[in-house]
C-alpha cells in the first residue's frame, strides 16, 4: 500500500471513530429524558421481572439515532417493570451502517455482494468488521452502558461482531449494571459454519455473573444448540441463561427448528432462560424469531416450559415475565433429573471423546458403512 493509500485509510479510520464518539450519543439520550426506574424495589426479593426485546435489524449510520432506538426499546421494557432487559444477537450490526454507501445498495443484495461493493472482491466480512470495529465498539458499549445507567436496569446488550486484542473478530455481548458499569463480556463459542467462513473466530470461555437479578450466563445464539454450553454454565452456578439470537430462515419461521435451541437446554440443566430474537430483512436475508422467557416445565402452570412468548416472529415486541428463584432452588433440591447424573460415566468419556472424534473426522463428519455382515 502506498503512502497516499495509507493516509486515506488512516483518515477514514479516524472519521469513523469521530462518528461514533460518545458525546452525541449522550446528548441524544439526554434529549429523551429517560427516567430512572424504581424497579429495583421488589416486595418479594426472590421474584424478578425480566424482559426480552424483539427488534428489527436495519442499517443505521448515525450513532445518536442508534442510541435513541435502543433506548426507546429499553424504556418500554423498563416501563413494564423489568429489572433485566435482554437484546438480540447482532444488535450492534445496525452500526455497520457507519460505512458510507452501504445504505444505497439494493435491499436484496447479499452479504458477499455488499462486501464486494465496499471493499472489493475477495475481502472477507471479518476484515471489514475488524476495520470498523473500534468505532462500532465505542457506539455500542456507550449506548448500552448509558441506557442501563439512565434507566437503572441491568441490560444484556445482545451482540456485535468486534475485534479482540489479538485482532480476531468475535461475536461478543456485554452485560451492564444499573450504574452503567460493565459486569461481563461473553464471546460466542459455537459459530454457524457460515460465520466461520466469514473469518469470525469462536470464543473459548463461558462465565456466569452473579447479580441481584440472578446468576446470569449470556452465551449467543448457536451456543444454545450445544448442551455443553448450558451444562458448563449450570456447573458455574447459572440460574438464568440469556440467548440473544438472529436466525436466518429462508423458508419462513419454523417452530420446530426454533425448538432446537434454548428450550431444551433449560429443561436439561434446570435454569430459567430468555431468548431475544432479531427479526426483519437484512442484506437479502429473512430473519425470524419468537422471543420467549422459558422455564423448566415443572415451573410453568400449563407444563409448557414457557412463561411468556412473543405473539409474532417478524415484528418488534417486548415480552416480560416474572422469575421465581426460590421455586427454582426448590426444584434443584427435589428434581429427579438433578439426582440422576452419572459422574463416573462423564469422567470416562469427557473431554477425551471430543478429541478422539476430531482425530477421526479431520475433514468433517462422515458416516461410514457398518461392519457386521448381512
Amino acid at each position: 500500500m502506498g503512502l497516499g493509500a495509507r493516509l486515506r485509510e488512516a483518515a477514514f479510520r479516524r472519521w469513523l471513530i469521530w462518528r461514533a464518539r460518545p458525546g452525541p450519543i449522550r446528548a441524544a439520550l439526554e434529549r429523551m429524558r429517560l427516567e430512572r426506574t424504581d424497579n429495583r424495589a421488589s416486595p418479594q426479593s426472590h421474584r424478578v421481572r425480566v424482559a426480552t426485546v424483539q427488534m428489527r435489524l436495519r442499517l443505521i449510520g448515525d450513532a445518536a439515532e442508534y442510541a435513541q432506538m435502543i433506548a426507546s426499546h429499553a424504556r418500554d421494557a423498563a416501563a413494564l417493570g423489568a429489572r433485566l432487559i435482554v437484546f438480540p444477537e447482532d444488535s450492534g450490526t445496525h452500526l455497520v451502517g457507519f460505512l458510507p454507501g452501504l445504505d444505497r445498495l439494493p435491499d436484496d443484495v447479499s452479504l458477499a455482494q455488499a462486501t464486494g461493493a465496499i471493499a472489493g472482491p475477495g475481502v472477507r466480512p471479518a476484515e471489514i468488521l475488524r476495520f470498523i470495529g473500534p468505532a462500532v465498539r465505542t457506539a455500542f458499549t456507550t449506548t448500552f452502558s448509558e441506557v442501563a445507567r439512565r434507566l437503572g436496569v441491568y441490560i444484556a446488550s445482545g451482540s456485535a461482531m468486534l475485534p479482540d486484542e489479538s485482532g480476531n473478530v468475535l461475536n461478543v455481548g456485554y452485560l451492564f449494571g444499573p450504574n452503567g458499569g460493565l459486569l461481563g463480556r461473553q464471546a460466542k463459542c459455537h459459530l454457524l459454519p457460515i460465520e466461520a467462513s466469514w473469518g469470525l473466530a469462536a470464543g473459548d470461555d463461558l462465565r456466569v455473573v452473579h447479580t441481584p437479578v440472578g446468576a446470569l450466563g449470556f452465551p449467543i445464539c448457536m451456543d444454545a444448540t450445544y448442551f455443553e454450553t448450558s451444562r458448563i454454565l449450570a456447573g458455574l452456578g447459572a440460574e438464568l441463561i440469556l440467548i440473544p439470537a438472529c436466525d436466518v430462515a429462508e423458508g419462513g419461521y419454523n417452530p420446530w427448528k426454533a425448538l432446537r435451541g434454548l428450550w431444551p437446554r433449560v429443561q436439561e440443566s434446570l435454569t430459567y432462560g430468555i431468548h431475544a430474537a432479531m427479526v426483519g430483512r437484512f442484506l437479502g436475508m429473512t430473519i425470524t424469531g419468537q422471543s420467549a422467557i422459558v422455564a423448566p416445565v415443572e415451573l410453568t402452570q400449563d407444563g409448557s416450559g414457557v412463561l411468556a412468548r412473543a405473539d409474532s416472529w417478524d415484528r418488534e415486541e417486548i415480552v416480560v415475565a416474572d422469575l421465581d428463584y426460590e421455586a427454582l432452588h426448590e426444584l434443584w433440591r427435589t428434581s429427579d433429573v438433578e439426582a440422576g447424573f452419572n459422574l463416573p460415566l462423564y469422567r470416562k468419556y469427557f473431554p477425551g471423546a471430543y478429541t478422539e472424534y476430531r482425530k477421526r473426522h479431520p475433514g468433517g463428519r462422515r458416516f461410514h458403512p457398518t461392519s457386521g455382515g448381512d
Binding site: L192, D205, L259, E338, F341, L343, Y354, R358, R360
Partner: protein
C-alpha cells in the same frame, strides 16, 4: 448405503402377564415387522423384565427390590428369555432389540462377550437394567446397561452402567439408550461421538404422557446430534401402575415432512407397531449441508468439563449450585 426399514413395537403391559404371553407378543410383532420388510426391530423397555417376573411368580416387578436370594432364579429366567429372542432374530433374520430385562449385577449374561459387554460384572445384591442387541445371526452384539436412573429405580436396587458403546449391525451403527438416559444429553452425545447412526431406545414412560417430555427426550437428542432415533414404548394399566409411552421415529428436521423432526408417531395406546425408513445417505447429505459437530468447541470443553462434573459431588449438583455467591452490580 441404502435405506433401512425399522420397526418400533408398542406393547400393552396388560398382555405381558405370563412368560408365554411375552414371547407370543414378541414373536407376533417380529414376524409382522419382518414381513413388512423391517431389518431392525425394537421392543419396549421391560419386555424381558415381565418375562422374568412372571416366571418367578412376582406379580408386580416394581413394587419392591428383588431379593438377592432370587438372583440365580432371575438369571435363569432371563437366560431363557434371551435364548428365545435370539432364536427370533436369527429365524426372521433381523437385528433385534427385544426390550430390556432386570438382571442380577453379579451374574454374567449368556451370549455376552467381552466385545459385546457384560451386564453382570458388579457386586452381588444389586441389579442392572439392560438391553441386549441381537444381530440377525443370533449373536448378542451389545449389552447396554441403563446409565441414568430415576430415584425410584435406584430404590429398586438397580445400579447404573458406566459405559456407552454403539455396535455395528447390518442395520447400521446402533447405540442403545434406555428410559431416562434420554433426558441426559451426555448419553446421546457420547454415542454420537462414536459415530452412532441410530439411537434405539426402549422406554416405559409412566402416566401421564406429556409431549413436551418427549420433545426434551429423544427428539432433542436426535436434533443436536444429527442421527436417527427410534423410541419403542410400553403402555397400559397393570397392578404395577400405568404406562403411557408414545412410540416414535425421529430424524433431523430437514429430513421430515413439515420439518417437524417426526418420521412417524403412534397416536394411540395399546399393541401396535410403526415402521420408518432410515436413509443414511440422506442423513449424510443433511450433515454435509450443515455439520453441527464441525463447530464443537473442544478447547472450551477441555477447560471445564471434567471440573464441572467433579463439582457435582455426590451425583447431585444442587448442593454446589446453592452455595451462596457474592452478587455484582447492586
Amino acid at each position: 448405503m441404502s435405506a433401512i426399514r425399522c420397526a418400533a413395537v408398542q406393547l400393552d403391559a396388560v398382555g405381558l402377564s405370563t412368560a408365554r404371553a411375552v414371547l407370543a407378543a414378541t414373536a407376533r410383532f417380529v414376524e409382522e415387522a419382518a414381513g413388512a420388510g423391517a431389518r431392525l426391530v425394537i421392543l419396549p423397555a421391560h419386555t424381558g423384565t415381565f418375562y422374568v417376573a412372571a416366571s418367578m411368580g412376582v406379580g408386580d416387578p416394581f413394587a419392591e427390590p428383588w431379593p438377592q436370594e432370587r438372583a440365580a432364579e432371575a438369571a435363569d429366567a432371563a437366560g431363557e428369555w434371551l435364548k428365545a429372542v435370539r432364536r427370533l432374530a436369527s429365524g426372521y433374520h433381523v437385528t433385534l432389540l427385544p426390550g430390556t430385562v432386570v438382571w442380577p449385577a453379579d451374574v454374567p449374561a449368556p451370549g455376552g462377550t467381552d466385545e459385546a459387554g457384560q451386564p453382570g460384572t458388579r457386586p452381588p445384591g444389586a441389579w442392572h437394567h439392560a438391553a441386549p442387541l441381537v444381530s440377525p445371526d443370533g449373536r448378542v452384539v451389545r449389552w447396554q446397561v441403563q446409565t441414568h436412573l430415576t430415584a425410584a429405580e435406584r430404590r429398586q436396587g438397580w445400579l447404573p452402567g458406566d459405559e456407552l458403546r454403539p455396535a455395528d449391525t447390518p442395520a447400521g451403527r446402533i447405540g442403545v439408550l434406555i428410559g431416562t438416559d434420554l433426558w441426559y444429553p451426555e448419553a446421546a452425545r457420547i454415542l454420537a461421538l462414536q459415530d452412532t447412526v441410530i439411537l434405539a431406545c426402549p422406554v416405559a414412560v409412566p402416566h401421564p404422557y406429556g409431549e413436551r417430555h418427549q420433545w426434551r427426550g429423544l427428539w432433542q437428542q436426535v436434533q443436536q446430534n444429527q442421527v436417527f432415533g427410534i423410541e419403542a414404548g410400553l403402555c397400559g394399566v397393570t397392578t404395577c401402575g400405568r404406562w403411557q409411552s408414545r412410540t416414535a421415529a425421529v430424524a433431523p428436521v430437514e429430513m421430515t415432512a413439515g420439518e417437524s423432526g417426526w418420521l412417524a408417531v403412534l397416536d394411540r395406546e395399546g399393541d401396535c407397531m410403526l415402521t420408518a425408513d432410515l436413509d443414511p445417505a440422506a442423513l449424510q447429505e443433511v450433515v454435509r449441508a450443515y455439520d453441527i459437530f464441525s463447530q464443537l468447541n473442544p478447547v472450551l470443553y477441555n477447560r471445564y468439563m471434567p471440573a464441572i462434573y467433579d463439582r457435582w459431588r455426590g451425583g447431585s449438583p444442587a448442593e454446589a449450585r446453592l452455595d451462596p455467591k457474592p452478587r455484582e452490580g447492586e
